[in-house]
Amino acid sequence: MAGNLTLDQTTRLSDWLAAEAGAAVTILATERLSGGAIQENHRLEIEVAGGPWPGRHDLVLRRDAASAVATSHSRAEEFALLKAAHKAGVIVPTPCVLCEDATVLGGPFFLMHRISGEARGGRLVKAAPNAALVRELGANLARIHSITPPRSDLEFLGPPPADPARAAVAQYRAYLDALPDPHPAVEWGLAWLADHAPAPGPVALCHRDYRTGNLMIDDGKLSATLDWEFAGWSDPLEDIGWFHAKCWRFGRWQEEAGGLGPRNAFVAGYADSSGRNIDPTAALYWEVMAHVRWAVIALQQAWRHVSGEEASLELALTAHVVPELEAEILAMTGDAA
């Protein structure tokens, strides 16, 4: 189903939208947006002739790409996550409607408001350090973490893990075992994580990819939290560690909050919004976890190329990011795994 929308699809989409809106809908423009190896995004500009949503709307249509992977959430699940986040005050594109009728576009899709801004990490870290933005990012993450189980609308996330840290270690070991080559430096990191695992605490909804690159910034302010496909129940510190990990600072190492600004601003924003202070030692544990997790994912991605599943230079090069991650793992864990 990948690619630009065909004329037939546009017609069917227009008819479906008209039924949803209770009024005639004219599709003024469609455009495939760049990026999205797992999901495909199309800009959609429509005019609704009446009903509850009259007028022009600038939207994004999100559907599976050809290379969608089984581990990410379905469009219906992502739509449910967006709705839950939006209701909790998280800055996300407003979710509009979900279509699970495959006769319209060949598979499920949903519409959300189009948000302007810049998400590319390499560009964002070139701006001056922005403590106010980073503080806002901390507060925004705290609002995500205000969503706690049980939630009937998020039942698809499964039961929350009893011990998120040890569950992650077990999962990443299993992932490494499925790869043909041995990776002792990553294994060293996992041994350290197993030995230093914190006692399990309260679990919350975690974005699990909350980092520079997945946050849309417009005029120095957060305009959208993107890419919810890996969200799940976990220790909130997992998101905090992932956000601060050196590997997601896009080379601007000194700005510890995602390469965008100072760590203390993020911590203050998080505390203001949640009433909880971040334990720096516990956060450091999850920064080690972040590097290990990214290393395991990178090795899996490279294997997709090496195994012949998907020939891709981008996937092939991902293997050569791993030594950087291993260097950080070895530096953070020291000689005492």
């Binding site: 760049s34 294994e187 293997a319 950087e324």
Partner: protein
């Protein structure tokens, strides 16, 4: 141990990507940068030859007191680490191997680490 794909395989996918690349595409600069990066890694690996692998193998033999191929020795080390019986000197060994890999995959990163320490 070098990550896969390495050397010739990396060059092959870089060549195939270049052949198929659309110079007018919006991401043409990004693709060109990836091609340059892949070729640069392959060149650095060719220049280093099998020296890093031989050094790693010798270090593993000394560390583990055993014999076998580089991959098998690394598998033995992985099992030892996971079982909590990593021999003394494992961290130092891993750091040396990591520096050799970084020298091939991203020497600028290695230089930056060195200048920061």
């Amino acid at each position: 141990m070098r990550k896969n794909p390495s050397g010739a395989a990396l060059t092959a996918i870089a060549d195939a990507t270049e052949t198929a690349a659309d110079p007018a595409a919006a991401n043409a600069n990004y693709v060109a940068a990836m091609i340059r990066n892949a070729r640069a890694i392959a060149v650095r690996q060719a220049e280093a030859g099998d020296g890093p692998a031989r050094a790693e193998e010798a270090s593993l033999r000394a560390l583990l007191g055993g014999d076998g191929s580089l991959a098998d020795l690394n598998r033995t080390l992985v099992r030892a680490i996971r079982d909590g019986r990593a021999p003394k000197g494992t961290h130092a060994h891993l750091c040396i191997v990591n520096r050799a890999e970084l020298a091939e995959s991203n020497p600028r990163y290695l230089a930056r680490l060195d200048s920061a320490s």
